[in-house]
Symmetry: C2
């Protein structure tokens, strides 16, 4: 029996952002496990096509506290995946991270409190480490200076969960993700490169010098990591913080090579230059995952697999490019 | 010439929370230094009597972005001291920390951005370290788990400043305070004990076991630390994070002894019990201040002085008890 089945068979689970990339995979796992699943999503970046047909779907913006409160009734567990995940362009709309990632997160917590729901898993990000000095970066790395609004808003989300755990007896699982790849991936560098090359295979603009070292993880490994952590966490502990990532890194240029090879194109590569792809981009990301591995989790997909699975999805679902 | 004069003579400075405890002392120092000072305060916890008469005073709530924007015009420097500083009772009104400390801070930053103001000093808190494992706790202590809504909101404020520094070229000075004591002190344990003993000198209720070890600093030393840091910071660095505190600690019981001695009372002491005074209270606070001392700052007031100066102020200004 899977960890998800052990935990969630016969339970009621609410997934915010359940029409999005990672959220929809979590919803699928919960449905598969025999849970009664409610998906809450405003479809701003999610897609109706990703919604599990066996789940109840509510098109709700998390700033609508009345609707959120109604959807929360009778739930046993919340997976809070909804977020403004547009890290790169955060500076174009600086209020969005605070509204969608801080205020929305507190709205979820308040709806839980009002309805006696006290268990929550939360998607944070490896970018909360800023530009770390320690690699691989552990969960207790030195107190970082934030480098993006997105990360600042996620640190706040983490803090809210922790404060609700301490103050109101919530149990909180906080996951700091590397970039996740795989089916239903609809933003990030593989998506951007694929879209640009589909439009013009003769050249490819690359942000930075292409030498940024990034860590990735396949969405199936990510969902398994989340379920394993929840299943194996000591119940006496109220705040569980776990990195999710793979033990290796990929140079952006290498990823570009795989993408071009798969698409059968040989574009001219045009670099914007500099170590960073954008303001707040971290030139090197590698998260320590010992804490997760001690619980028995191991990633099953290689970096190469993960990029190829993503491209396969994009090729089979070219319509996802229309909106993003 | 004082650091403040070197920096601020002839400049325009805006102080949010400038009718409050620490903010009013900063406004005084700026006026003294020859700056043109605007004080913005909603008087929710500040007092009109603390407003420097040579400053322009605007009764503005920081959630009122139009009024804030108008007050920001022509400023050179912002001291953002306004905050919901009610740590102990944060769980009674959980949205207040997010509104007053996160949204309000972003409003200040957005008003600055709209008006081309890019230098900001910010009052954070030593409670962002949660329950630290390292004492004295340095600025780069291990990434903490938050234990209060107040600290979670301040971590977010810090992150916002850092992201605006990286993204929009702001210069940010972040100060993590221990509890500050001295004239115009109107909340915290010395105030609470003084008020309780004034009402009933026969007994004193003490939260926790009284053995909590806290660090304090006199407000004059605090203001001097802020001005020294700004004066001596390398201009190439955009985010400056500094603890402000003294190198010693005070047991709550010892402070109770000094207060009783000063008031000439011998109450029965009634402890609520437990290591912590309230949920999220840290049983031990001691911040490392090497980073600050390297800039030439040293505290001039002892702990004993600081408690006594606070009591002197409270005795001379009993009216402050009416509102808090």
């Amino acid at each position: 029996m899977s960890h998800a089945s052990t935990l969630f068979a016969g339970k009621h689970a609410l997934v915010t952002g359940g029409a999005g990339f990672i959220g929809s995979h979590i919803a699928d796992a919960l449905v598969e496990a025999g849970a009664t699943v409610t998906i809450v999503d405003n479809l701003s970046t999610g897609f109706a096509a990703f919604v599990n047909p066996k789940a109840r779907f509510e098109k709700i913006d998390l700033l609508d506290t009345t609707a959120l409160d109604a959807a929360m009734k009778g739930q046993d567990f919340v997976f809070h995946l909804a977020a403004n995940a547009d890290i790169k362009d955060g500076l174009l709309h600086p209020r969005k991270d605070i509204e969608q990632n801080v205020v929305a997160t507190q709205n979820v917590l308040e709806a839980m409190r009002a309805n006696g729901v006290s268990k929550i898993a939360f998607s944070s990000t490896g970018s909360v480490y800023g530009e770390p000095e320690v690699f691989p970066t552990p969960e207790n790395a030195p107190f970082p200076v934030q480098t993006s609004l997105y990360a600042a808003s996620k640190v706040c989300g983490e803090g809210l969960l922790s404060a609700y755990a301490g103050g109101y007896g919530f149990s909180a699982w906080i996951f700091r993700f590397v970039s996740i790849l795989g089916p239903r991936y609809t933003h990030g560098h593989v998506f951007d490169f694929w879209r640009k090359l589909s439009a013009d295979p003769s050249k490819l603009a690359i942000l930075g010098n292409g030498k940024q070292l990034k860590s990735y993880c396949h969405v199936e490994d990510c969902v398994e990591a989340i379920m394993t952590t929840i299943a194996k966490s000591e119940s006496a502990t109220r705040v569980h913080v776990h990195n999710i990532g793979r033990p290796d890194m990929l140079e952006v240029n290498q990823s570009v090579g795989w993408i071009c090879e798969t698409l059968g194109v040989t574009p001219e590569l045009v670099y914007s230059g500099g170590e960073r792809g954008w303001v707040g981009d971290s030139p090197k990301i590698l998260l320590a995952t010992e804490r997760l591995e001690k619980l028995g989790w191991k990633p099953r997909h290689t970096l190469h697999d993960s990029v190829l699975a993503t491209l396969r999805f994009l090729r089979e679902n070219p319509w996802v490019a229309d909106r993003s």
